[in-house]
Symmetry: D3
Subunit: 216 residues, 6 copies
Amino acid sequence: MPGPIVVINPNSNQAVTDGLDAALEAFRLPGGPGIECLTLAEGPFGIESQLDSDSVVLPLARLVQGRPDAGAFVIACYSDPGLDACRSVTKRPVFGIQESGVLTALARADLFGIIAIAEASVARHRRFMARMGVLGRLAAEIPLNMSVDESARGEKTFERLVEVGGALKARGAGAVILGCAGMARHRPGLEAELGVPVIDPTQAAVAMAMGTLLAG
Amino acid sequence: MPGPIVVINPNSNQAVTDGLDAALEAFRLPGGPGIECLTLAEGPFGIESQLDSDSVVLPLARLVQGRPDAGAFVIACYSDPGLDACRSVTKRPVFGIQESGVLTALARADLFGIIAIAEASVARHRRFMARMGVLGRLAAEIPLNMSVDESARGEKTFERLVEVGGALKARGAGAVILGCAGMARHRPGLEAELGVPVIDPTQAAVAMAMGTLLAG
Amino acid sequence: MPGPIVVINPNSNQAVTDGLDAALEAFRLPGGPGIECLTLAEGPFGIESQLDSDSVVLPLARLVQGRPDAGAFVIACYSDPGLDACRSVTKRPVFGIQESGVLTALARADLFGIIAIAEASVARHRRFMARMGVLGRLAAEIPLNMSVDESARGEKTFERLVEVGGALKARGAGAVILGCAGMARHRPGLEAELGVPVIDPTQAAVAMAMGTLLAG
Amino acid sequence: MPGPIVVINPNSNQAVTDGLDAALEAFRLPGGPGIECLTLAEGPFGIESQLDSDSVVLPLARLVQGRPDAGAFVIACYSDPGLDACRSVTKRPVFGIQESGVLTALARADLFGIIAIAEASVARHRRFMARMGVLGRLAAEIPLNMSVDESARGEKTFERLVEVGGALKARGAGAVILGCAGMARHRPGLEAELGVPVIDPTQAAVAMAMGTLLAG
Amino acid sequence: MPGPIVVINPNSNQAVTDGLDAALEAFRLPGGPGIECLTLAEGPFGIESQLDSDSVVLPLARLVQGRPDAGAFVIACYSDPGLDACRSVTKRPVFGIQESGVLTALARADLFGIIAIAEASVARHRRFMARMGVLGRLAAEIPLNMSVDESARGEKTFERLVEVGGALKARGAGAVILGCAGMARHRPGLEAELGVPVIDPTQAAVAMAMGTLLAG
Amino acid sequence: MPGPIVVINPNSNQAVTDGLDAALEAFRLPGGPGIECLTLAEGPFGIESQLDSDSVVLPLARLVQGRPDAGAFVIACYSDPGLDACRSVTKRPVFGIQESGVLTALARADLFGIIAIAEASVARHRRFMARMGVLGRLAAEIPLNMSVDESARGEKTFERLVEVGGALKARGAGAVILGCAGMARHRPGLEAELGVPVIDPTQAAVAMAMGTLLAG
């Protein structure tokens, strides 16, 4: 068995890393690859702006270079910061959660929707999907208009998720992506409520990483 | 834990099913979803023509309807026959190996290539990728020009895979998909030889199915 | 002169076939190709689901194989079931009415709209148009929300057609396709009411078939 | 029955008009629309340059305005000069032969090819297909490198057509369009030789025009 | 230094030419290329219809041919009439203001919007942008619903520009193009009001022309 | 007049900055915006890898933040590093030379080609053009296979530029972009040799910046 899947939370909010860890618990199977969740010490407390996103690229690449024992990497921030940089410094697979989340959604529905945290990230995500060439299958991306931290704790988060998810369905989305690393615990409830697949992008990326490692 | 991943070989060649079974052995983990490989009794011995592909659609849908215990389904033929039909008769996820293989390749490289078995399937695959909206990222698809059965046994298969894989790389492919359900055993060797990720589409689909089931 | 244009109604509702026959009466010209309208005995009473559509593929291919005297074939169901299958068993031209309707609309306006019968068919049509590569010119597809049978008889059908056609125009459609084999008798009235070209897809397919046969 | 289909040869080479007339003879059926082939008096002897093409726009629009009795118009030059102008001055349908030829090819094959007369027209055609949104389905366009007049008479034309048609097939074309108004007489022979549908664009446009008029 | 940039107003409304002249005053720099604004004598008073647009193509080409001393040309009508014609008769660069305006907007924002004068021009512009291949980045085009002349003088023009510009922003436009040659004087005020870049297309074209000439 | 155009060479090779300075000399006009060429002290000696490109993002953003007096910025490296970051920290326009070069090429030809320095940058450029949505108009990008430094000095550079430029023309390119900040001095000679427009991307970006500033 190759080394573990190293899941990197590029912000320095340990609560987010803990949430990732919990969301991935079910993916840790005896005989399967290990899953290690790390907090990027150099990261900002939350990645909310373009500059926040750019600020973690080099630290991420260094972290990847410092883990020759890893089997695969997952960058657990929905802006996929440093994806190209990390891929350029290792031959092992590196998965971005935005990319993996979108690709996984494409396996579940003709059109997909995204629940973003903040308005500001929508344009950043759009640019990345343009580069992927998948905008033709995007129904819409609608922000919760909450901070990452708020959305991670807030009591009204679920209510707002249902509201935005419903708006995405009304625009044709047959699957919905949680556009943030920190909302996995709402996934099953939201899926039940909306009646369409709801995808946690970190789980999607880890599943792809597992597939790569199990293939041998 | 929900029911098993039911992997259906839509042709009636048991050797192909056995090959799938072997290729998925590493994906069977304690505590993880079961993986059951079935041969579609009504299928032709090989799916080589459009009519072969169309002939299995209704039997596949019936098989899916007859397995309310399953957690997810994988249609293990690279033409993805019956994908829409199966999805229309169940709320559980149904993965086609062509679709999953392509989406997984998109997580590994900007441009991907496909090694088809026979010339005749190239146009069929192209139509499906057009529908997916991903032709902009296809470097090329090149056939081995062998029958499914030949390729499954043949001694010259690996040699030919290396040759075609090299031609795909020369056209810009940064990842290569084995465009058939029956070539998984060549995957590691071919990846080593080519130096770019080589994707077995059935493994890719099973990894996506596992991700869905483990997410709960 | 080659053999007749064989227009196949893939459902077993003879009233629909009779409607086709009437709609094509004007296309039967002395010295031109014959036009024969057939009911597919094996078809369901209406093609409303994906499974209905898939269920007629093999019977359609068999029917085509059994008519070596035909000059061309038209599959007269807006889901274009069996188009690939039929094309794979004959060298004579096979026209699907969805495909022909869309292509004919593209000769009349920059953006076109579609009046579907039921909500359920919209996604199926979208997948086909994605494969065709023409979604960039689709203004919208809006369903009547009636069954095929209802729409074929109902008195309120015309009223509803005008309403949906008007909504399509408001979204930019410069031509409107009747997204069903059974609404040709409303075509002239609807065109007069809307003031933009209204296309009956079976007539569009038969015109293309005539063109092929008259070219010699 | 509405008025005739007026087919306008926008160049002043009467031999080309006569060729059109002959190519459309089979489309004149008792009880069907009349087909009238006209030479645009103001046109240049051949339309080979962008300026030639632009020079006929206003005369074409005037001709259209002067024929209130016509049922439909066909502009029989593969550059589709004046298509927008003519459509803006009449409510009756106006078909361009490039547009109609391409749309008809799309009903016959996934990928199509075009045999152009001269290198200089390839870029002009490409711009028009870009506007149509169909470049994703173009296999290739290859010029004969002959003048319109040469190609209309020349003895080596057929030989060269077979050569270019073969090259288009080798690049994936499943249907071939004669990219000129004056080559219809080679259509049946070339189709027999190549084994794929060969489309004369004027016949394609007239078939679409007939369909519109016969629909009533 | 090569010859001047010849900016051609293809309509015969001298007030529009004078407006262009004023809008370009700041672009006339000592040592830089001269900028000459001409009125096309043969042009209609305003270019509002397709036929108006087509009517100026040949006169524009003749004007270009008659100015061998020019360094570059700008066609200052937002429909870019005669762009292909003019380019075919000179080796010197010819810029259309629609094309230049759109390309300049693409350097300022992911999605752009257009303020058209009249509804009738929206479809014409859309066809040109389809040909350019940039529709994927168009947020929307919304007309002022005024005549060119009205918009050039009217007191309510600015009010209406702010209204339409706001609507474009609401649809995602990060930059706004004034879709007419005659609205440059509103540019700075509108940019200040909207808070996103506002592009006068004639200034955009002249800047591109300057770049070409200064490069030597 | 607003502040100067600040052109930033993100590598620390002063010879490259000096080359930029020389290439922009003709753009400095009395009464026009100043043009200041800076070397990014923190930059690597050459930007050849993804990591080199990522390493300058934050220093570029800081430099931009530290120049509130500037009128516009140009990032003079063909990978457009830090474009999003810089745009996020200032309201003044920021131009990337890749983006500006491509957009300027689109104003000169239907299809454009790019001469890259090294093979390694081709994929990076492709990803950026995918994001721009302009790959449909790319004829090809072909590398010189030289280092930035070599290409800046080498005597065989021009010979190789002509060779690669010719190959791009053969693939349909009607305009050619020099895909590097350091080759402007070859532009006029190469344009004369190839007979199609050759675009220096830094000059293209500065022309766009001038246009923005002169518009007021």
